[in-house]
């Protein structure tokens, strides 16, 4: 079993980078690996609870909940990036953690592989 750390900086709506990263996480977990998933910048939108699924837009809350339930997936949002966008602790979906940026670097420290997916 390996540990994959994925950092994503793209928004939930307006890009499919988060969709790709979540699909990749799912595939890694199915292969028996662990995934640390970091969202920063506009990607903190993913941590917002109460997302309504429309067919025209990416909707990943249900998938994130499924991955969290495996116990092999940790999702963490950059607290400052989220707060700057008005996503407060009480707005965060269940199971999604919030930390400062050093959490991401610490996860990279012990990761077998790091995949960093930039934003705009």
């Amino acid at each position: 079993m390996s540990k994959l750390t994925i950092g994503v900086f793209s928004s939930l709506v307006g890009s499919l980078s988060l969709d790709f990263a979540v699909k990749l996480s799912e595939a890694a977990i199915k292969k028996g690996h662990k995934v640390d998933f970091w969202v920063s910048g506009n990607a903190t939108m993913l941590s917002k609870k109460g997302q309504r699924a429309f067919k025209d837009y990416s909707a990943l809350e249900k998938k994130i909940q499924e991955l969290l339930a495996t116990g092999n997936f940790q999702a963490t949002a950059c607290e400052a990036c989220a707060e700057a966008r008005g996503y407060h602790k009480e707005d965060t979906m269940e199971g999604f953690k919030r930390h400062s940026m050093d959490w991401y670097l610490a996860s990279c420290f012990s990761a077998d592989k790091v995949l960093h997916i930039g934003g705009d």
Partner: protein, 137 residues
């Protein structure tokens, strides 16, 4: 005891997106990462500006005056104050016709002792090859 080297490669324009700001703030976060690690373990960052990214290193930025936000100059100086290794690609600086005295090369005004280095891209490549992980912003 182990050290993981992370290269933060900045190739984005300043202010157009949040990318270069996030590169700087994530690199600076390496200074507090120990709280999550075992004693003696550390993350060693190297911050390199290439392509359009060298424009982040121009002096006399007025972001606070114009937009009321911290400038990338301030973040870069904080990086130097914290002794981060900062590299600026020489070829790209020359490509833009930027004189070295127009670049943020030190943080002496806030008490920093470490200087940025304008180096050939081949030197930046060596840093990338030596890094455990690469992050492009």
């Amino acid at each position: 005891m182990a050290t993981t080297k992370i290269a933060f490669i900045v190739k984005s324009l300043p202010y157009k997106t949040e990318a270069s700001r996030l590169a700087l703030t994530h690199a600076i976060a390496s200074q507090t990462v120990e709280i999550y690690l075992e004693d003696g373990d550390m993350v060693e960052p190297v911050l390199a500006f290439i392509g359009d990214g060298v424009l982040n290193c121009l002096r006399n930025q007025k972001a606070m005056n114009m937009y009321g936000v911290t400038s990338l100059e301030q973040h870069l100086k904080n990086s130097l104050l914290l002794d981060l290794k900062v590299l600026i690609c020489k070829e790209d600086v020359q490509k833009f016709g930027i004189a070295e005295d127009s670049l943020i090369m030190d943080a002496e005004d806030i008490g920093g002792e470490t200087r940025a280095n304008v180096v050939a891209f081949s030197e930046i490549m060596k840093e990338m090859e030596a890094a455990n992980h690469l992050m492009f912003f």
